[in-house]
């Protein structure tokens, strides 16, 4: 009974931190407790949320995907090129964004599963490839998506904000989150994801075909990056070539803060989402206190380290329980 209580406490720690942070900034921040800031917190975390959901699967398998950010930007750049240079209709551009990102995810999967590259190396490679590829194809030109009120600007109203200013993106993120949740907890795909992460050899011996499933996990992560790309484009409009590296760390940090172990085998999507919002509240909150951006970076780092310390503590506790 005693042990059970402890376990629950670590589980609800992340939500508690989230609430405490929100309260803290509501008291000390300028106008933080307002619709404006709430919407800012949501808007600023769509793309991170999608990336984090995708990479949660990858991290549960014991892998890592460093190409999240550049995959997202590369896909968004190509979609932008399709819109600006090739004059495709918006819907096809958006599909292209998802397709490109899914393809890069598939490539990651093949490299990791079939060619046995360490995930860190494979995705480091595709990170750079994606960054370069986007820049090459767009000839290092910034790609701009249509803005509100322009004929093709519907996609912003559809994915980002209604004309009245309601943040519809939140429905998309939560809707997709629910789908991912079902995928992870109720399907074969999810069960195998955990199985591969906790003991790959045991999973193989029990008859799971590791390679296709692992490829599937990375491909799914790529697909999530594609969605992230659409939302990035909807919120920020302009995509600069050769950017995106560093953004993967935001997604990974969200997963880690949410309590998914980098060792693989365990992890929750709920935690990931909370982790993403902890970062977002922290970022917006520090801004509401008038602190310059360096402070946000600094404190995000502090939170990540705190979360990893927690992760280790959890592992230890887990080991104790097993005994």
């Amino acid at each position: 009974m005693e042990k059970n209580k402890k376990f629950n406490f670590t589980k609800i720690l992340a939500p508690i931190v989230l609430v405490l942070l929100y309260l803290f900034f509501s008291i000390f921040g300028r106008n933080f407790f307002s619709d404006d800031y709430l919407i800012n917190i949501l808007d600023g975390s769509y793309y991170i949320g999608f990336m984090a959901i995708g990479v949660t699967f990858v991290i549960i398998t014991g892998g890592i995907d460093l190409s999240l950010g550049t995959t997202m930007m590369c896909a968004a750049l190509l979609g932008g090129a399709a819109f600006n240079s090739w004059h495709w209709p918006m819907i096809w551009c958006l599909l292209l964004v998802v397709f490109v990102a899914t393809a890069i995810g598939f490539l990651n999967g093949v490299l990791v599963a079939y060619l046995n590259l360490p995930p860190f190396i494979a995705t480091l490679g595709t990170q750079m490839m994606g960054m370069g590829f986007g820049a090459i194809l767009t000839r290092v030109q910034t790609m701009r998506y249509p803005t509100f009120g322009t004929p093709e600007g519907w996609f912003k109203n559809f994915f980002y904000k209604t004309t009245a200013g309601f943040p519809v993106g939140i429905f998309w993120l939560f809707g997709f989150f629910l789908i991912a949740l079902i995928l992870l907890s109720k399907t074969k795909f999810g069960r195998y994801t955990f199985a591969i992460g906790s003991n790959r050899e045991a999973a193989r011996l029990s008859g799971i075909k590791i390679n296709p499933w692992l490829t599937g996990v990375y491909t799914f992560c790529g697909f999530c990056c594609g969605l992230a790309g659409i939302f990035y484009a909807a919120v920020y409009t302009s995509i600069i070539p050769s950017t995106g590296n560093g953004m993967e760390l935001l997604g990974i940090a969200g997963v880690v803060i949410g309590g998914t172990s980098m060792a693989g085998g365990t992890g929750t999507l709920v935690g990931t989402l909370i982790g993403v919002y902890i970062m977002s509240v922290l970022k917006q909150g520090l801004m509401s206190m008038g602190l310059q951006s360096h402070w946000q970076t600094f404190f995000t780092g502090v939170v990540v380290i705190g979360a990893v310390l927690l992760d280790q503590y959890r592992l230890k506790q887990g080991a104790k329980v097993k005994k």
Binding site: L13, V17, Y47, R139, V140, T147, I240, M287, Y313
Partner: protein, 360 residues
């Protein structure tokens, strides 16, 4: 359990520490939020100093923030959103990219928050959303660099002496083709240089290197190539790569359009020492820089760089806040306030009028 508590309390203590460094906001003084394009160059710190001076003069409170690098559009948009949620009396903005802030500008207009542009401001902003802009006329600044470069005897001799069998290269290095200030300088330089060269060598001048400025020579033959080089990203390493590539072409003159590309040039030439007039590897290469900063000033003083164009960052910051205050007081202000630019060399950089514009 104990450990957990320690971790949580450490986090909370660290976060609450920030309460002490956060500037106190008095309710009665007007609050003006300034969002710059960056922090990484000394330039912005001088802008901030000017803004602070104006804030003290007029008794307003300002906050000054900018993204960590000039590629971080999303960071700037988030900052702008946060600044707007803080209910400022006015906003001063140097946008990295106009399209990405269009929606925010419209919201400011609806809410009645006046927006003042500074530095590159907000080019092509929606009608009526920007009250006024305090900035350098960047095309004029680029043209000034071209005039100064062509005014150097050695360069003029090369221009007049070039033939299609022995063509020469004149180059401009920019860190991006996105921001209005940098494209403005690039355009100003390219156009004026084209004019000057085409007068001496009619029909034999081509602009190469980037689609935006590309221009084939009128006759098809090329005696003078104006090479536009845009770095792959705004990082110093990419600017350095761009500079190295240009140097390999053996150009007669190079114009670097901002601190970023100047830094790239300096790191490509062993901090400028390769440009030493007597024993440097590239002793005949004429380089003109932009803005200032300790390393560039040193390079100009040693004559490694022929000279540089300087803006007046202090006045940019000062005017931005002054324009915001005037607008809040209901005064009418001009849509554009030129904050001026000057060319300096090792000879005049210590004149009081010039030295006041330079910063370490």
């Amino acid at each position: 359990m104990k450990k957990l508590l320690v971790v949580v309390s450490v986090l909370l203590i660290l976060v609450s520490l920030s309460a002490f460094v956060a500037p106190a906001v008095a309710a009665d003084t007007p609050y003006i939020a300034m969002i710059s394009k960056g922090f990484q160059h000394k330039f912005w710190q001088t802008v901030q100093a000017g803004a602070q001076a104006a804030a003290e003069k007029y008794g307003v409170k300002i906050t000054f923030d900018g993204p960590p690098s000039e590629s971080d559009i999303s960071v700037q948009v988030d900052m702008l959103n946060a600044a707007m949620a803080n209910n400022p009396a006015a906003l001063c903005l140097a946008a990295l990219d106009t399209e990405s802030v269009t929606e925010q500008l419209n919201t400011c207009k609806e809410k009645g928050i006046p927006v003042i542009g500074f530095d590159s401001g907000v080019p092509n902003a929606p009608e009526g959303s920007i009250i006024s802009t305090a900035s350098t006329d960047n095309e004029a600044a680029g043209a000034l660099a071209a005039d100064q470069m062509a005014g150097i005897e050695k360069v003029m001799a090369a221009i007049t002496g070039a033939t299609k069998d022995a063509p020469i290269v004149l180059s401009v290095i920019s860190q991006d083709a996105t921001s209005a200030s940098i494209t403005g300088r690039t355009t100003g330089f390219v156009n004026r240089m084209y004019e000057i060269c085409n007068e001496k060598q009619p029909g034999l001048v081509a602009v190469t290197g980037h689609d935006k400025w590309k221009k084939a020579s009128e006759s098809g033959d090329v005696a003078i190539e104006i090479l536009v080089s845009i770095a792959a990203s705004t990082s110093v390493t990419d600017c350095q790569t761009a500079a190295q590539a240009v140097i390999q072409r053996g150009p007669v003159g190079i114009f670097c359009t901002n601190s970023g590309s100047v830094d790239g040039m300096l790191s490509a030439t062993a901090d400028g020492s390769d440009l030493d007039r007597e024993k440097g590897r590239y002793k005949d290469l004429v380089v003109i820089g932009f803005d200032s900063g300790a390393t560039l000033l040193n390079a100009v003083r040693n004559q490694w760089f022929h000279g540089a164009v300087t803006q007046d960052p202090y006045m940019i910051g000062f005017y931005a806040v002054e324009l915001a205050v005037k607008t809040l007081n209901g005064e009418k202000v001009d849509p554009i306030v030129d904050t001026g630019c000057q060319y300096y060399t090792y000879q005049n950089m210590d004149d009081p009028a010039i030295a006041a514009l330079l910063y370490e």
